[in-house]
Amino acid sequence: MNLTLLMYLVPSLIMFGCGVYGFLTRKNMIAIMISLELMLNSVDINFVVFNRYLFPEQMEGMFFTLFAIALAAAETALALAIIINVFRVARKVDINQLTKLKF
């Protein structure tokens, strides 16, 4: 039995599905961020395995993932900073209740 490309894609797909589910259902902003990370991660995996399996001579996928990780880190940091700030003001993190800026 060999480890084919598909075998890596399937867990990644499931991870992505979980991310989507979490993103859609969670109300807590931090939980949403976590779901987002799941999705990002799954995409990272895809990039890497596609690169490794299909174009082993090249490095695009790997580098893209590298950058994506960096971006994700920055984005998460910023997002969490915002969430904490919002929490400081509104004392809540539930997106259903944070409707002050709506419309």
Binding site: V20, F23, L24, T25, I32, I95, N96, T99, L101, K102, F103
Partner: protein, 664 residues
């Protein structure tokens, strides 16, 4: 140019109106009145000059071959509709115009003078709005003079409107009284309705003849009254018929309706009794002597056309005859002195109208050319005399009202003792209108009756009967006011004759009413300008005097001394009496039509339709757009999760579609 100073007759009242209207407010009240009266006096002198020059003067271009023709003094273009159809504003003198100048200026001068006293309270202080009153009087006089000297039909229409407005302003002079406001509104709208028909008539007539000008319409190109243009116009429109009548008949009928509105012919008479809400001198000037005869004047002006178009003439005749009787019947039971006089006016104007209309019946067109037209002459003559004695009666009524502060004859009674001059003047007026020789009314009314008998025995008898009723109701009023029983003095001041400014016009008018019958009208105001040789028809004259005497005798019997007879008769014929007193419910009918049908039935639904349906549609459009926007906005709810959800749905749908496409 001969007679060019006629312009001053028109211009002075206009200038007086502008002057009094613009700067009068700043001036002393009495001064404005005196100024107005002086202006009117000058106008009157000039107008007499014009009339005398026209009738008797050396040749001013008005006499040709023994025929008195029209003189157009000047006639500039005012408004061009097309190259040929041009409205002109000018002055034209012909017998009836010259006569009307005299009538209008005389009565107007009397009213100006009389108002100096009438428009003051008992202490001699002028009423509020005195300046305005004189300004409006001047405006009215101007408009009326402009009307009678009109050179074309459209000019008459213009001044018809102008006199209508002056009348509106004067009836509503006491604008804080709701009754006056209502009456002025009613007068204007009813006459306006009539003017609509007048306008339609002018439109039709001018369309087929291509002109408004009288010198083309009714006076031929060469000399007087060759009817070529009119005839050719009628011939040219001969094929054009509408609902079975020739277009010309329609046009003339419509024009008559216009005149009927102003002259208060049934059923457009309803405004005139209400118009008595205005100051009494105004009633004397406008609603007895001058403006109300504008309709008669109009028909007389277009007389040659009516002669050709007998259909229209019949309508005039029937309307006139009916109105004469109808108004006389109502006048017999009115208790308000001015109302009674108003119905009397309606009746008398109807006499003139009928007289005009019967005159054409003297044979065919050829004979008319030959010089008949007694009715025309009689009508104009009656117009003249009636203006004098009816103005007299109204001014007397004004003096009485001024003395007793009431219009109801129940408040008067027995005034002969207190106001002898007024009483005598009133009596002269009554005798004149009743047709007792030698007073003015006898001569003119006699000619009318002769003309009516000439048309047919029935017409003559009918009109004689109305003449008898006239004598009855006039003396009924007279006896009820001046006799009946002792006057009960209600106020501190016992009623008395009024100051000279008011009495002098009464005396002058009474004098005129006595002598006016001897004016040789048959030489002067004939329809074709030729002298008309008439002589007294003894049969008709005798019988009409007899009928008048019977009427007077009946009135004497019933009303000279207080007695039960009137009440008994009233109880006996209560239905009829009530109907006549309520003017045969014409006002109620109009009220129903205007308020229930037009106002409630048309205007309100239309306004509702506009707000509800049409505006509603646009609002609905806007609301639908707004709702759609709100609906779409819901998608933009700020929740990132819904966005993702929608995005997913969209992406999945795309994917599914792609797959399906690939599969197929």
């Amino acid at each position: 140019m001969p007679l060019s100073y006629t312009i001053a007759v028109i211009a002075i009242p206009l200038l007086m109106f502008l002057f009094l209207g613009l700067v009068g407010v700043k001036m002393d009240k009495k001064l404005t009145g005196v100024l107005g009266t002086i202006g009117m006096l000058i106008t009157t002198v000039l107008a007499y000059g014009v009339a005398l020059t026209y009738f008797f003067g050396a040749d001013q271009g008005q006499m040709a071959d023994g025929v008195r023709s029209a003189v157009v003094v000047f006639n500039p273009d005012w408004l061009s509709f097309t190259k040929t159809l041009v409205v002109r504003m000018g002055i034209m003198l012909d017998p009836i115009a010259a006569m009307m100048l005299v009538v209008i200026t005389t009565v107007s001068l009397m009213v100006h003078l009389y108002s100096l006293g009438y428009m003051c309270d008992h202490h001699g202080h002028a009423e509020k709005g005195f300046q305005r009153y004189y300004a409006f009087l001047a405006l009215f006089t101007f408009s009326m003079l402009g009307l009678v000297v009109a050179t074309n039909l459209f000019q008459i229409f213009i001044f018809f409107e102008m006199v209508g407005v002056s009348s509106y302003l004067l009836i509503g002079f006491y604008y804080q009284s709701p009754a006056a406001v209502h009456a002025s509104k009613k007068a204007f709208i009813v006459t306006r309705l009539a003017d609509l028909f007048f306008l339609l008539g002018i439109m039709i007539l001018s369309f087929y003849t291509g002109t408004f000008d009288f010198d083309k319409l009714v006076f031929g190109p060469e000399g007087a009254n060759s009817l070529e243009v009119a005839q050719s116009a009628i011939a040219s429109s001969h094929g054009a018929t509408f609902l079975g009548c020739s277009v010309m008949a329609w046009a003339l009928t419509f024009i008559f309706i216009g005149g009927a509105g102003k002259s208060a012919m049934y059923p457009l008479h309803i405004w005139l009794p209400d118009a008595m809400e205005g100051p009494t001198p105004v009633s004397a000037l406008i609603h007895a002597a001058t403006m109300v005869v504008a309709g008669v004047f109009l028909v007389a002006r277009l007389f040659p056309l009516y002669v050709i178009e007998q259909g229209a003439m019949e309508i005039v005749c029937v309307t006139g005859a009916f109105t004469a009787f109808y108004a006389a019947a109502i006048a017999c039971v009115q208790s308000d002195i001015k109302r009674a006089l108003a119905f009397s006016t309606i009746s008398q104007i109807a006499f003139m109208m009928t007289s005009l209309a019967v005159s054409s019946a003297q044979g065919g067109l050829i004979e008319i050319h030959g010089g008949h037209g007694l009715g025309f002459m009689a009508s104009m003559f009656h117009l003249f005399t009636h203006a004098m004695f009816k103005a007299l009666l109204f001014l007397c009524a004004g003096a009485i009202i001024h003395a007793v502060h009431s219009n109801e004859n129940s408040q008067m009674h027995g005034l002969h003792k207190y106001m002898p001059i007024t009483s005598i003047a009133f009596l002269i007026g009554c005798l004149a209108i009743a047709g007792i020789p030698p007073f003015a009314g006898f001569w003119s009314k006699d000619e009318i009756l002769v003309a009516c008998y000439a048309k047919g025995m029935g017409w003559g008898i009918w009109m004689s009967m109305v003449a008898g009723m006239t004598a009855f109701y006039m003396f009924r009023i007279y006896f009820l006011i001046f006799h009946w029983r002792q006057h009960e003095v209600h106020t501190e001041h016992a009623p008395s004759d009024q100051p000279w400014t008011m009495t002098l016009p009464l005396i002058i008018l009474a004098t005129i009413s006595v002598v006016a019958g001897f004016v040789p009208a048959h030489d002067l105001v004939t329809w074709d300008g030729r002298e008309l040789h008439t002589q007294l028809n003894w049969t008709v004259a005798g019988s009409s005097v007899l009928i008048a005497c019977i009427g007077i005798g009946l009135a004497y019997k019933m009303y000279f001394k207080e007695n039960e007879l009137p009440d008994k008769l009233q109880a006996r014929f209560s239905g009829l009496w009530e109907a006549a007193y309520r003017r045969f419910y014409m006002d109620e009918l109009y009220q129903f039509i205007t308020h229930k049908v037009i106002f409630q039935g048309i205007c309100k639904p239309i306004a509702k339709f506009d707000r509800g349906i049409i505006d509603g549609f646009f609002n609905l459009l806007a609301a639908a757009t707004g709702q759609a926007a709100y609906g779409i906005r819901r998608l933009q709810n700020g929740s990132i999760q819904s966005y993702v959800y929608l995005y997913l749905v969209g992406a999945l749908a795309l994917a599914v579609i792609t797959m399906v496409c690939v599969l197929i």
